[in-house]
């Protein structure tokens, strides 16, 4: 049994240590004797995401987000939307999760349409939000995902952040964008 990870846009969405997430996942799986593989999906590759258990999308500069937009609309957007509907697990950073929403509107009104896989949109603001923060993961009913179903018996390996109620420390480096959630549920509450 092999955990199949897809690293999407590793060539352009790798702004600030994002690949560390993939390194961490692979290493932790390796130490627990779980086979895992990472398939990179750069610009130009729009194969189906159906075979993957987890899709990782990093963050990027405005410049790189523009670069990938045309590639996104050439097939990857449909694949991502389908995978989200199927309940495939996504780990996305910054521009990565903004991309899953409907659109991004800059603070001066310029709008960039995205995939619409998640019911959220982003509005930029002038004030940057930078700094370490901790948040508490939301308890309660979480939508069951195939990943959790398959690996439930291996619960002890799950990163602490996955356990409801666990504390997470993270660095939030945002251009000031605020994510407005529609029906999408926030993962936690900032402390």
């Amino acid at each position: 049994m092999e955990l199949k990870i897809c690293h999407m846009y590793p060539d352009v969405l790798n702004l600030y240590g994002d690949r560390g997430n993939v390194i961490c996942m692979l290493k932790r799986l390796e130490w627990r004797g779980i086979e895992a593989s990472v398939t990179k999906l750069p610009i130009g590759d729009s194969r189906s995401l159906a075979g993957f258990d987890l899709v990782f999308i990093g963050g990027g500069q405005d410049f790189e987000q523009q670069v990938l937009l045309s590639d996104l609309h050439r097939g990857k957007d449909r694949e991502i939307k389908a995978a989200v509907e199927d309940g495939v697990t996504f780990l996305t950073i910054c521009g990565g999760y903004q991309m899953l929403g409907s659109y991004y509107e800059t603070f001066d009104g310029k709008r960039c349409d995205f995939i619409g896989a998640l019911d959220l949109y982003t509005k930029g603001s002038v004030k940057r939000m930078i700094g370490n923060y901790k948040f508490q993961q939301r308890r309660g009913r979480q939508r069951r995902r195939p990943l959790q179903k398959r690996f439930r018996h291996l619960q002890p390996w799950a990163p602490a952040a996955q356990e409801p109620g666990a504390l997470r420390f993270d660095f939030k480096d945002r251009s000031g964008a605020e994510i407005r959630l529609g029906r999408a549920a926030p993962p936690g509450r900032q402390l």
């Binding site: 702004l15 240590g17 690949r19 560390g20 390194i23 410049f63 523009q66």
Partner: protein
Amino acid sequence: MNLKAIIAIIICKLLRAFSRLVHRGGTAMPGRIALKLCPELLSIVSRGVKTVAITGTNGKTTSSRMVEQAFLEQGKSYFANRSGANLISGITTEFVMNSSLTGKCRKEYAVIECDEAAARRVFPQLRPQVVVVTNLFRDQLDRYGEVTHTLENIRAALEPIPQARLCLNADCSLTSSLALELKNPVVYFGIEKGAAPSRPKPEISDATHCIRCKAEYEYDYISYGHLGGFRCPRCGYSRHKADYAVTEILSQGADSSSLIMDIRGEKHMVTVNLPAMYNIYNAIGAVAAVSQMGLGAQAAISALGDFQCGFGRMERFPLGKGGARMMLVKNPAGCSQVIEFLENLREKFMLVVCLNDRSADGTDISWIWDADFEGLTKLSGYLEKIVVSGDRASDMALRIKYAGVAPEYIETEHDYEKLVEWMEGQEKPIFIMPTYTAMLELREVVISHCGGSEFWE
């Protein structure tokens, strides 16, 4: 004469004298206060001084020391801002300290290292004759924002000074793009194809797509990171021929490199008193700068064999039987280059890594995951131990563990006194990789144990 300026100058000089009296550096604070009184003070005190300004992401300090060495050896009347005081406050302080009370500078030349974000405020007042842009890499994104923003900052800094001669890194597509929009006279420096073995495309690159048309770059060769013979297949934007070029790297040792430079058609054999590829770039950039300032290329070439590494840039300390060398790290590109240098050492050594996350280091340490610490796993048999220190020592230990180094090789020591005592007892050479504020603090402790110069000397 501007009375406000004179008062500001007096206050600046007094504050500096006072700071030195109480042994507290005083490199930037006097200038900061003086500028509050007289915001155009830098333009007054820099009037008439022939200045070479060096900016960019990596290599500013090393390049500045190389350039400075040339001025020193030629017996020129000059001063340089030292010790990382490279914002407008520190630069202004240095000019004031080298000026009379009425703001007339006593020196003919100035070698000024300038922070790439500060350049926007500094350059219009400083009006340098020559500006070197070493390279552009992702660096402290919480402080500088995106690399393209830094590029824009530098472009905006240069726009008001179209008469300044630019020395640009030909191998850096980001740096070279400055020439596309600016009217300044430009010369290029770089490493030619074939000088060193080409490398595969890196995992992390700060310029994968054309800055002009966003098509993916093709490369004839890669030096490191995104530096090399780039070419856009769509719009044709490509590496400009280098006026100051390294055509052959004869040898790269643990202490120095030996190369052939082609300077406007003339070939020279050169020894650079520092190892590693990134210092070869610093060297050729320094040659370009010194030459453009009118001192002649030969002045720069002889300086390269003589200059002293300083202030955490491959700086040597007599600690332990094998000695210690301090190599400042600030961002993934620089850090990966240092790790690569270590990979090529063929001797047993100990490694100390000090990670801080204060304002000057970059408060977001995620960058350590972009640096190629995995390279350390190639050093089995040579790397005997890694000691991590600094405010975020635990994060660094974690990173190294995840890079594949067995945990039994990793130790943590938060106390610098204990760390230095440990280093003193070592037989093998020690390489220290600190971030900026960790370097300042550790250096003080090291110097108090074994001597050396204070950071403002």
